[in-house]
């Protein structure tokens, strides 16, 4: 048998120059049982191609694909009103905490005010008089009025001032 043609076809096959008809011819050739040793070594390649060509999709293919698609479907999440308001609740909680703390601080300062020595804002005072003598007369007159007032209120020199709560 002349294998020259087959060898030429193989050469062209390796160069990817064969037509589909020529490739089919090669596959048919390798279906023979007895082949010369130099061509026998390529048998497994052409048998593999033939086997692979016979593989087709199974009957359960569609079913499998559809079941996979069902699994990956992402359902739209329905956000409730309270879920959408969550950031506002959080902000309101922070404001409430700060407000409560502020009130607590304010309250603690106002209740402990009697225990600490308050500082008056003397820096804002603008003296009415520049002459100490005039200021002295004004202070003396005011002290006399307060002294009279305390006496009228019933305070005696031996009494101590008790603040009515």
């Amino acid at each position: 048998m002349d294998y020259k043609y087959i060898e030429q076809l193989l050469e062209r096959y390796w160069e990817c120059e064969t037509t589909p008809e020529e490739e089919q011819l090669l596959r048919d050739f390798y279906m023979q049982k007895n082949l010369p040793a130099n061509l026998e070594r390529y048998r497994s390649l052409f048998e593999y191609e033939k086997e692979e060509a016979n593989i087709s999709l199974g009957e359960d293919f569609d079913e499998k694909v559809l079941s996979k698609i069902d699994e990956t479907v992402v359902k739209a999440q329905r956000n409730t009103f309270s879920f959408r308001m969550y950031p506002f609740y959080r902000a309101a909680a922070v404001v409430a905490i700060i407000f409560t703390l502020g009130m607590a601080i304010q309250h603690s300062f106002s209740t402990s005010n009697e225990g600490t020595s308050p500082t008056y804002n003397y820096a804002s005072y603008k003296d009415t008089y520049t002459d100490p003598q005039v200021a002295y007369e004004q202070v003396a007159s005011a002290l006399k009025e307060v002294s009279d007032g305390l006496r009228e209120s019933g305070l005696q020199p031996e009494d101590s001032i008790n603040i009515k709560n």
Binding site: V94, I98, L101, G102, I105, Q106, F109, S110, T111, N113, E114, G115, T116, S117, P118, T119, Y120, N121, Y122, S124, Y125, K126, D127, T128, Y129, P132, Q133, A135, Y136, Q138, V139, A140, A142, L143, K144, E145, V146, S147, D148, G149, L150, R151, E152, S153, G154, L155, Q156, P157, E158, D159, S160, I161, I163, K164, N165
Partner: protein
């Protein structure tokens, strides 16, 4: 979290600032009157305010000390003697005086005192309502005395601040 922490710190700082500096009663009254000027149909011309601050009070004390050094007989004036003992306890005096709309200002003063009842306590040893004396106390010292004298044609609010002990009051009553 960082912003909340900063806000919290500023809140505390504000609290401290607010707790630290106080205005005396006449200061509060003037602010109150100015805020309600339009509502009450009052004017700044209705009243006057005399202020003698700590620096002037020191000058008065220095003047009194110098007078005694120059003329030892000056101390024989008993009132002056008492005032000399009293004055170191006083830091400031403010006098609010009104000749018009006295009722409005009188009510303003009483409302303000009642609003700040945690600070100011009325002093009324014999149950009389006049003269109206209110005290602000810190521990065993009186730190503010407010006396309101209301007459037919005049309203006067006297406001002393300082560290006034019972000894101070005893000395004051001798005047």
């Amino acid at each position: 979290m960082k912003y909340i922490f900063c806000l919290f710190l500023s809140l505390i700082a504000t609290g401290f600032c607010k707790a630290d500096v106080n205005e005396d009663f006449v200061g509060l009254l003037l602010s109150d009157i100015k805020a309600e000027q339009n509502t009450n149909n009052t004017s700044e011309e209705d009243y006057s305010c005399i202020t003698i601050g700590p620096s002037m009070m020191e000058k008065v004390l220095d003047m009194m000390s110098n007078d005694t050094e120059e003329d030892p007989a000056a101390d024989t004036d008993t009132d002056k003697e008492h005032i000399k003992k009293i004055l170191p306890h006083i830091k400031s005096l403010r006098i609010f005086n009104a000749q018009h709309n006295m009722d409005v200002y009188y009510n303003n003063a009483l409302t303000l005192l009642n609003k700040n009842k945690n600070k100011y306590k009325v002093y009324n040893a014999n149950g009389n309502e006049t003269p109206c004396i209110w005290l602000r106390k810190n521990k065993d010292k009186v730190i503010e005395i407010i006396q309101i004298n209301k007459q037919e044609d005049d309203l006067k609010v006297l406001n002393f601040t300082g560290d006034m002990t019972n000894d101070f009051v005893k000395e004051l009553l001798k005047m």
